[in-house]
């Protein structure tokens, strides 16, 4: 049973558009949700994260919207650039001493110019 699910598997947007990547989870004990960006041949890079006590987190062009009741979150990438083309992973952890991350399968984003 997959504890963290992402959709869509792949997404193509035009330069300047807002890309919306979705994530949902099963475990109510999850309280920390980071998003990672990964380019081919590299390790995942932490992009932005949110704690379950918040419903929104912004960092530049990247915004997380979080709905605890529905166990859903989304990553919005505003003014998408070709350099944003990468695979994005949603992850979750219970925090505290149980710090291991559970990852979704990723969304591959392509930004066309």
């Amino acid at each position: 049973q997959q504890q963290v699910r992402q959709s869509p598997q792949s997404l193509t947007v035009w330069e300047g558009e807002t890309a919306i990547l979705n994530c949902s989870y099963e475990n109510s004990a999850f309280d920390y949700f980071p998003w990672y960006q990964q380019f081919p041949g590299e390790g995942p890079a932490l992009l932005i994260s949110i704690l379950s006590v918040s419903n929104k987190k912004e960092d530049g062009r990247f915004t997380i919207f979080f709905n605890k009741r529905e166990k859903k979150l989304s990553l919005h990438i505003a003014d998408s650039q070709p350099g944003d083309s990468a695979t994005y992973f949603c992850a979750a952890s219970e925090g505290g001493s149980n710090a291991k991350l559970t990852f979704g399968k990723g969304t591959k984003l392509s930004v066309k110019s």
Binding site: Y32, P34, L46, S49, S93, G95, A99, L101, F103
Partner: protein
């Protein structure tokens, strides 16, 4: 400030041989995590150390896999009698105290022939 360092970047072994993967966490980080990434399974947690002590090895295969953290500056993941299904990218991450932000290294791509 160097990020997480993993060596080697690529390793090719024959079936039945041993593979040792090295990780140097970010200086000052007390927690080290190991993950495995494959196309089919995605990113999977293997094991986690905090202050060099093993905290959670729930993701480690019961046989042939072992991990150690002999000092605060490096951790090793050893795979004995490697099998083709062990082929994957092995990722190491470190964090300041365990919970919260994890920073990944570039990974070691292990290929078992």
């Amino acid at each position: 400030n160097a990020g997480v360092i993993q060596t080697p970047r690529h390793k090719v072994t024959g079936k039945g041989q041993e593979a040792t993967l090295w990780c140097e966490p970010i200086s000052g980080h007390s927690a080290v995590f190991w993950y495995r990434q494959t196309i089919v399974q995605g990113l999977e947690f293997l094991t986690y150390f905090r202050n060099q002590a093993p905290i959670d090895d729930s993701g480690m295969p019961k046989e042939r896999f072992s991990a150690q953290m002999p000092n605060q500056s490096h951790s090793t993941l050893k795979i004995q009698s490697t099998q083709p299904q062990d082929s994957a990218v092995y990722l190491c991450a470190s964090s300041l105290m365990g919970g919260g932000e994890q920073y990944f290294g570039p990974g070691t791509r292990l290929t078992v022939l």
